[in-house]
């Protein structure tokens, strides 16, 4: 050990270890062996167990149980049993428990921090100052939502039993992000921590027992991917919440397709870190430290791609290299280190391989002169320059302390490069020019945008991804949506069900087999043409050729096939184009070209929609007779009238679905802005051909999305008439595109299209499942009805917030201020 006179000369840092005696004592007290926490009791595992290791030493900390499918089932049953009482306990009762959990976390904060750092390898500074305080904050914040649920979440009820699977990078924090909102909203949970880092979840289970949380409300099952799979496929689980890799997220999306399970996924990222030349470069350097050398870079939203304006690049690189020299890597329990250990050898090898690949592809590597500890699994902070956007290291999530640096020339090029990724989790923007910052932030495809800061989190701010970084938000009011569903929704009955309602409610005749007209091609071929009802005189009718409506133009279907359309009496009344893959491709391209719609003001969008209603009203009579012909309804006035009213609803909503400013505990403004999802495929419901089309297309359009709509199969001519109304109403070209044809087939094509950002499907159960499954390709947002129809004439069911929520994704923009 160095003497005081020596240190007086060198002024080196010495060891500053945080003690772990109390944690070790606890582990010893458990016999360094853990079971499962099911139904409020500890259950010894019936199957295998495995070691959980300290990444800083490679030595075992304890043995943890590999939960079997049978044990998962037991946990799910415990959660199911506990759920009704937990919900009926009421918001205030749940608030008391959540508050108690927050207090318990605070009371044991250092214990939890030390345990976390031992098991995960993250620096004690981070577990102590960031992870654990945020854990407590999440329970406090959501205690508040439990208290307020009855007033603030009117019409919504718990989803039920939630299966939650969390990663190893922020073990306890991810647990809090999952459990706190679920419990607040009256759900019960079965949570599986990552197999590398089970210990804080197990200690948390003890805390649940200590505060007297009712048995079964929280169940903790440990194990690897096999346990996770048992959760994902369990039929009694109502929702899966997962944080982890995009690869596993895709498997979950596919495995749950058509099951009716709600799914929220928080996946990988390759987040851009955009530096303009007018930024405070010294602060930028510290930003990079927080972005990529936080938690050893094992952060899903790590700013791993530095994009710097060319003029500032050399200075920034020099400053970064100098800063990297002063970073300290070492024992995670040392209070004066910046980076701890990599979670496991498998992760270390992955990082090493990717870095090697980067060098092989021509990147220039820079690492500080000091060396990492020999024991345990460490990797030094690494900067890669001379990287092109095409390089592997610029594309792939490394999940380690490795940052790549590229340059750009202009703000638009910065946006282009920033968005040149499949992911969309987070971004940060550094500039002292507020005009520039607020111009760029909305253009970035990311769920969180940090202005002049990075990797700041709070329970009041929603966190989650765009694109292949997943969907759903955690935190804020927007995060609650994942853990509630709308009450009183008609959930029984397959598609025929709604008609019974119509008959009962209106005394109208039951709809005819016209709904299946398109499918009955053999019959169609033998029926005579044109309905007498539409024939104006004794002269032969002028042939009408309904086409597809793409990019504001009426176009012939690519394939050159048409389908006959029959009326209520089975008479052939016209033909529609049979849209195919290429028509969808063209429509999607047209919809992308219309992206300016999202940037038009909400007021301008509202005006267009009102004008649409106005123009439909002038043609009310025509649509009535068209509907009459199709549906055999004696008085289709109601559908047209409801349609006009519905257009009004969304014209009204267009400039009223506001964002919020979250109260995050920093000197900043956190803007939660609902943004359009982008290009959406909408497969319209078969019932109410006109009202259904408008009820599904317009919420999307009102929020700024552009749409490829596939109209009702039963009455597609209503839609092709409708595009004339669109044409006369100043709806910009490409905002609404209509492709007629076989809805199921077109739904599959849209779901499998990787440049479609979201898809709504209203139809049957089988196609719903297919849409969800095929959407896993680019993790597009999906909303399907699983064949459970709704009454589109009922404003309670068919209009409003539920639709707007589905038509938007929330972006949180953090804007610190202060000169």
């Amino acid at each position: 050990m160095a003497s005081i006179p020596e240190i007086f000369q060198t002024m080196d840092y010495g060891p500053a270890p945080e003690g772990s005696a109390l944690v070790d004592k606890w582990l010893d007290g458990q016999g360094r062996q853990f079971g499962l926490f099911i139904g409020g009791a500890w259950v010894a595992g019936e199957g295998e167990s495995f070691e959980t290791l300290n990444p800083a030493t490679g030595k075992a900390l304890a043995r943890v149980t590999q939960a079997t499918p049978g044990e998962v089932d037991r946990a799910v049953r415990a959660a199911r049993k506990a759920q009704p009482a937990w919900w009926e306990l009421g918001g205030h009762g749940r608030a008391r428990y959540l508050y108690a959990l927050a207090r318990q976390v605070q009371k044991h904060s250092r214990f939890l921090a030390v345990l976390e750092s031992l098991d995960n390898g993250k620096p004690i500074r981070e577990s102590r100052d960031i992870d654990v305080p945020l854990v407590a904050r999440h329970f406090y914040y959501h205690a508040g939502w439990a208290q307020l649920m009855e007033q603030e979440m009117k019409g919504r009820v718990p989803v039920g039993v939630i299966g939650q699977i969390i990663p190893w990078n922020f073990p306890l924090l991810m647990l809090a992000w999952k459990i706190a909102p679920a419990l607040a909203m009256g759900n019960t949970v079965v949570l599986k921590p990552a197999e590398f880092t089970s210990l804080t979840a197990l200690r948390f289970a003890e805390l649940c027992g200590e505060i007297g949380l009712p048995p079964g409300v929280v169940n903790i099952v440990t194990g690897d991917g096999r346990t996770g799979e048992a959760i994902v496929v369990h039929p009694q689980i109502d929702k899966i919440a997962f944080t982890g890799s995009t690869e596993v997220g895709r498997i979950i999306r596919t495995a749950t397709a058509g099951s009716g399970k709600k799914v929220s996924l928080e996946l990988g990222g390759k987040s851009p870190f955009v530096v303009f030349s007018d930024a405070d470069l010294d602060s930028v350097v510290e930003g990079v430290v927080d972005a990529i050398w936080f938690n050893q870079g094992q952060v899903c939203c790590a700013g791993s791609r530095i994009l710097v304006q060319e003029g500032a690049a050399q200075r920034l690189i020099a400053k970064l290299k100098e800063r990297m020299e002063t970073l300290r890597v070492g024992d995670p329990l040392d209070k004066a280190i910046d980076m701890g250990a990599i979670i496991a050898p498998v992760q270390l090898e992955k990082i090493q391989a990717l870095v090697q690949r980067g060098e092989e592809e021509g990147a220039s590597l820079w690492q500080p002169s000091w060396s990492c500890p020999r024991e345990g699994w460490f990797f030094p902070p690494t900067l890669m320059t001379e990287v092109s956007p095409a390089a592997t290291v610029a594309q792939v999530e490394i999940f380690g302390p490795v940052v790549v640096l590229m340059s750009f020339r202009t703000p638009s090029e910065a946006v282009e490069l920033a968005n040149n990724t499949r992911y969309g989790l987070a971004a940060s923007v550094w500039t002292e020019n507020i005009n520039l910052a607020l111009d760029v932030a909305p253009q970035l495809k990311a769920g969180t945008v940090w202005i002049n800061c990075t990797n700041v989190f709070d329970a009041a701010s929603g966190f989650g991804g765009y694109r292949e970084s997943g969907f759903g938000r955690e935190g804020g009011r927007e995060g609650l949506q994942e853990y509630v569903k709308w009450a009183d929704r008609r959930t029984g009955g397959e598609s025929e069900g709604w008609r019974a309602g119509v008959v009962k409610g209106d005394g109208r005749t039951k709809l005819s087999k016209a709904t299946r007209a398109v499918k009955s091609r053999s019959r169609a071929a033998s029926t005579p043409s044109a309905s007498p009802a539409l024939r104006p005189s004794a002269l032969p009718p002028i042939d009408r050729t309904p086409k597809l409506y793409i990019g504001g133009k009426q176009v012939r279907p690519d394939a050159g096939y048409s389908l006959p359309v029959l009326d209520a009496a089975g008479q052939r009344i016209g033909e529609i184009g049979l849209g195919n893959r290429k028509d969808i491709r063209n429509a999607v391209e047209a919809a992308h070209k219309a992206a300016g719609w999202a940037r038009s003001t909400a007021h301008a969008r509202a005006q267009v929609l009102y004008y649409l209603a106005e123009n439909l009203a002038t043609r009310e009579e025509e649509f009535r007779s068209r509907l009459h012909a199709f549906r055999g309804i004696a008085a289709p006035e109601r559908e047209v009238a409801l349609t006009i009213e519905r257009i009004y609803s969304y014209a009204a909503w267009a400039d009223k679905y506001d964002g919020v400013v979250h109260h995050t505990p920093y000197r900043n403004v956190t803007l939660a802005m609902p943004e359009p999802i982008g290009v959406m495929g909408v497969i319209c419901p078969d019932e109410w051909p006109l009202l259904g089309l408008v009820s599904t297309v317009l919420p999307a359009v009102a929020m700024g999305n552009t749409v490829v709509a596939v109209p009702s199969a039963s009455a597609p001519l209503v839609a092709t008439d409708f595009y004339q109304v669109l044409d006369t109403s100043d709806v910009p070209d490409g905002v609404v595109n209509i492709v007629t044809g076989d809805p199921a087939e077109l739904a599959r094509i849209l779901a499998a299209h990787d440049d479609v950002d979201g898809i709504w499907y209203f139809g049957n159960r089988e196609t719903s499942a297919e849409v969800e499954r095929l959407s896993a390709g680019n993790m597009k947002r999906t909303w399907v009805d699983l064949g459970q129809s709704r009454d589109w004439s009922d404003p309670h069911d068919a209009v409003g917030e539920e639709f707007l929520e589905q038509a938007t994704q929330v972006k949180n923009i953090w804007i610190p201020y202060g000169e």
Binding site: M1, F8, S369
Partner: protein, 337 residues
């Protein structure tokens, strides 16, 4: 494990060497207004760095003791009160010579180390008293000057004050700048003012006090720092100790970065003095860590870093005794100033 470094940063060839025992003086440079205009300081980011720096670095046990001894050698032991007397100044000087009880130094194996304050800082009128009291110690006397603390007396008079203190034997002059020049962004006026003050100092080192707490913004602190360095300041100093906001870590961070920036571009070394409000050993250590992190180890020497304080030493002594004995100490167990 990955291999060691692939390349190192190459410093500009004109950069002053860091291995000289005493840093060469900063000759200054012509006022560069475009540089001043470029300066950007993001307050929130600076505050975040300052706040986390305290939580990222700490020293314990031997390291803490050694760092505290180092802090003492960086101390401008200061008395700047209206009720100062020759007797009070003599006591302070005695403390500057022997700041730590010998038994404590011996217990730490540090009895051979040159542990004494870096300087004594007083008003002009006490320069002579201090010089006499410090004779033979090698400890310089610093005089606050130029209408300290407001700096608003007639300019010639302020220059006269400097000359008088230098003539009296002060080796360091702590001058205050005209805050109005900063607040009106009149950089040429600030530059000329400091330039002339530096000339008046002759061989005495000049520390320019920014009174950062009165400059309104951190960006102003950065710009004033650069102008003072261009005008030839040997040290830039945070505060007089009389402002309502004195030496805060964000202010120190901005000034340290300005010093680093100045060195990167000119090669010249400038010192940092934190003064005002630093009272606890922990705060002193925070300043050392900030300086080490942002400027490097070379700055942890009295020619490039000072802590201006009057009550800090008492807390350091108590912490040192705690290190030696393991028992919490009391102020009255250490010689008073």
């Amino acid at each position: 494990m990955p291999e060691a470094p692939k390349q190192r940063i190459v410093s500009p060839s004109s950069t002053a060497p860091l291995d000289l025992p005493v840093a060469p003086r900063n000759p200054g440079k012509p006022l560069d207004l475009s540089w001043i205009e470029e300066v950007r300081v993001n307050r929130s980011a600076v505050e975040r760095r300052a706040a986390t720096l305290r939580t990222r670095r700490t020293v314990k046990k031997e390291w803490q003791a050694a760092w505290l001894l180092r802090a003492i050698t960086l101390l401008d032991l200061t008395t700047l009160s209206g009720d100062d007397t020759p007797g009070r100044v003599r006591r302070l000087c005695a403390k500057a010579r022997r700041p730590v009880r010998l038994d404590l130094l011996e217990a730490m194996g540090a009895a051979q180390l040159p542990i004494h304050a870096a300087a004594i800082c007083v008003y002009h009128i006490f320069v002579k008293v201090a010089l006499e009291a410090l004779e033979g110690s090698g400890i310089p006397v610093a005089a606050v000057s130029t209408g300290f603390p407001a700096g608003l007396s007639p300019f010639e008079q302020r220059l006269g004050e400097i000359r008088a203190s230098v003539a009296e034997g002060a080796e360091e002059i702590d001058v205050v700048i005209t805050r109005a020049h900063v607040l009106t962004e009149n950089w040429p006026a600030l530059y000329d003012e400091v330039r002339q003050m530096r000339e008046a100092c002759g061989d005495a080192h000049i520390k320019t006090i920014l009174a950062a707490g009165e400059l309104g913004t951190l960006r102003n602190v950065a710009r004033a720092s650069l102008v003072c360095m261009m005008a030839g300041a040997d040290f830039i100093k945070t505060s007089t100790g009389k402002e309502s906001v004195n030496a805060t870590l964000p202010i120190g961070l901005v000034m340290a970065r300005a010093i680093r920036d100045y060195r990167e571009r000119t090669g010249h070394l400038v010192g940092l003095k934190a003064a005002g409000g630093i009272r606890t050993a922990r705060e002193g250590l925070d300043w050392l860590a900030l300086t080490k992190e942002e400027l490097g180890d070379r700055w942890l020497r009295p020619d490039l870093f000072r802590l201006g304080a009057s009550s800090l030493l008492a807390d350091i002594e108590r912490q040192l005794e705690h290190y030696v004995t393991g028992r919490y100490s009391a102020t009255h167990r250490h010689p008073a100033t």
